[in-house]
């Protein structure tokens, strides 16, 4: 099926075909922004979107998730014993995901799916999901994927990739899962002559529009403790208000908290996204807090993404250059500038 093509006017029919076999999630307009949502009606999918405000990480690692449930009812023989909450792991397709966001799942696998410990819910959702991506013809001004080892046409995190060639999409099948999903669609046509050349031109133009913002190898090659003790963190942290927006929007920020919630005699153990920007994140029961200062928390985020992660997993930085933290930061802290400071090891002008 590689090199197959679908006209844009036939896309709703194709999505309907997918809906017969999968749950389908795709970019949907909600007010001023787009977000990934479950599709009920094929017309709701808007593949003309630039970027979603929230990354789609919540499809694998929900912002709030019920882990276990329990009863606190007197006389219940199972009182206080946790039972796994029912979850839906039926097959699903995420349609139109950008290459950067798909690559982020791959980077997050290093945390959730290791030889020693597996997060059961992350692993089952990954297994149940087929990622049909959409190459990025028009990167945003805040994008820097090419600086962090991915790119607007990087198919490495995808099962199949669509390229918008104007009147339609060319599909490239990348995995067996991708093949199965593509074969669920009957609207495919033969790609027009010259499609390969058109795609190459689109890729070149997209990559050139981003340019190389910094040399990530120069960041990784720095000594960890020298970076940790760098004087530039004072400059980086100065404006930060510890709002946590960067961590919530980031597709590779996975930190979470576990809390119990009780209603009457029934309770749930929940996990919710958490953030290293928040002082309580590391606050000990004893009252001691190893990261009580803002500068320590700001440093932690950038060091974790750009130094600790590559040193631990040896597969590049924990950043895919989606630019959400840059565009949404209320005080204009820019990870590209931080990376430049980290690679220079000194305070330099932008």
């Amino acid at each position: 099926m590689s090199g197959a093509y679908i006209s844009k006017n036939k896309l709703p029919g194709a999505i309907t075909g997918l809906l017969g076999r999968y749950k389908v999630f795709g970019p949907v307009r909600r007010g001023r922004y787009h977000e990934f949502a479950e599709i009920r009606n094929a017309e709701d999918v808007d593949l003309a979107y630039r970027n979603t405000r929230l990354s789609p990480k919540g499809l694998f690692h929900p912002q709030g998730e019920r882990m276990f449930q329990f009863s606190l009812a007197a006389g219940d023989p199972d009182k206080g014993i946790l039972k796994e909450a029912p979850k839906d792991f039926s097959p699903r397709v995420i349609l139109g995901i950008r290459p950067c966001d798909a690559k982020a799942f791959h980077l997050d696998d290093a945390n959730f799916d290791t030889a020693a410990i597996k997060d059961p819910w992350w692993v089952k959702r990954r297994e149940a999901t087929t990622l049909i991506g959409l190459a990025c013809n028009h990167p945003c001004s805040t994008c820097f994927c090419t600086s962090v080892g991915t790119g607007p046409f990087d198919a490495s995190g995808l099962d199949a990739m669509l390229v918008d060639t104007g009147d339609g999409y060319v599909v490239e099948v990348l995995t067996e899962k991708g093949k199965a999903a593509v074969e669920a669609v009957s609207e495919w046509e033969t790609a027009p002559t010259g499609s390969a050349e058109a795609i190459a031109a689109l890729k070149k133009s997209a990559e050139e529009s981003i340019g190389k913002q910094f040399d990530i190898k120069a960041v990784i090659d720095q000594d960890m403790l020298e970076l940790f003790n760098g004087a530039f963190w004072e400059e980086v942290q100065f404006a930060c208000i510890n709002c946590g927006t960067c961590t919530f929007l980031c597709p590779t920020c996975w930190c979470f908290d576990i809390q119990d919630e009780v209603c009457g005699e029934q309770g749930d153990r929940l996990r919710m996204w958490d953030s290293c920007m928040f002082p309580l994140f590391t606050f000990h029961g004893s009252g001691h807090n190893p990261r009580s200062q803002k500068v320590q928390r700001v440093r932690q985020r950038f060091m974790h993404k750009l130094k600790y992660y590559p040193d631990k997993y040896h597969q590049g930085v924990a950043c895919v250059g989606c630019g959400r933290c840059v565009s949404a930061c209320p005080v204009n802290i820019d990870i590209r500038q931080v990376a430049r400071l980290m690679s220079a090891g000194c305070v330099c002008p932008a």
């Binding site: 290791t114 597996k118 997060d119 059961p120 692993v123 960890m224 996975w254 576990i258 029961g285």
Partner: protein, 280 residues
């Protein structure tokens, strides 16, 4: 796939109040399902998450030794909502335990070595596990001389008093019990801070490793003493505390440089700690 977040249900078999201020209690727990006990295979130095449905989980060092069969023990300091609730629970009540978690003191490397154990206050719990483990008849020949320096602020705050007395009577372990101060005229052990008593007793660094666990201030002033006695940084082993949640290196909370304290620690050599950011 085993769910690493799901606690094993356990029954509280007994609760012992350890200290005069009644803030430290030791919980003896028995697994409801025998297969869970088999899965909970641990080594001294490891910790577990104690779980109370409706309140949450807390990471606590395991106070029992794997050589003690049929139960596990935890000594819990009353500081927050979960620990306060635990202190009000009774024998027979059901709670949860998740683990074991983290690494442990390097027992393979310690084999054939002299071991110096230095503990202060409440942190003595995992050291109790280590001492019981080493004194087990099957294990004792594997280790050389064992020295223990254990201090509390005053006699009423010493943990495991019956066991301390029993170890005192043995000739295959040297106990150096101390308190910061006391007005008890019958006090027969040392008076003085742990660093000073360590210096005074001067356990030999020859073929020896030191395991140190206690309040940061005690560790800070004991490390120079150990260095003076000739212990190099790779033979000084300590254990970090962190606010931990998942306990399996996933939730990100206890990240310290390239390490997750809950999974890659909590036990680190001083040499390793010197290579990590000083954020603990």
């Amino acid at each position: 796939m085993n769910n690493p977040y799901l606690p094993y249900p356990v029954r509280i078999e007994s609760i012992v109040t350890e200290t005069e201020d009644r803030n430290l209690k030791t919980f003896k727990l028995v697994f409801l399902n025998p297969e869970d006990e088999a899965r909970f295979s641990y080594m001294p130095g490891q910790f577990a998450e104690l779980s109370v449905a409706g309140l949450g989980e807390i990471p606590i060092g395991i106070a029992s030794s794997p050589t003690e069969k049929g139960f596990i023990k935890f000594t819990v300091n009353k500081v927050g909502k979960v620990t306060s609730y635990l202190h009000n629970m009774n024998a027979g009540d059901i709670m949860g335990v998740r683990g074991p978690m983290g690494n442990w003191y390097p027992w393979d490397i310690l084999q054939g070595k002299n071991v110096v154990i230095i503990g202060g206050g409440f942190a003595f719990t995992t050291l109790r596990s280590s001492i019981v483990y080493m004194l087990d008849p099957a294990n004792r020949p594997r280790f050389g001389e064992i020295n223990v320096v254990y201090g509390a602020r005053f006699p009423g705050l010493l943990l495991y008093k019956d066991e301390l007395a029993a170890w005192e009577r043995r000739d295959d372990i040297k106990m150096h019990i101390t308190v910061d101060g006391t007005d008890d005229p019958n006090w027969k052990y040392n008076v003085g801070f742990v660093p000073a008593v360590t210096k005074q007793k001067a356990p030999s660094a020859e073929n020896a490793y030191a395991i140190i666990c206690g309040p940061p201030i005690m560790i800070k002033f004991t490390l120079p003493v150990l260095t003076e006695l000739g212990f190099p940084p790779d033979r000084i082993i300590s254990s970090l505390e962190m606010r931990m949640k998942c306990g399996i290196g996933i939730c990100g909370r206890c990240n310290l440089g390239t390490e997750y304290v809950c999974k890659d620690g909590p036990v680190f050599t001083l040499e390793k700690l010197s290579q990590l950011p000083n954020e603990y």
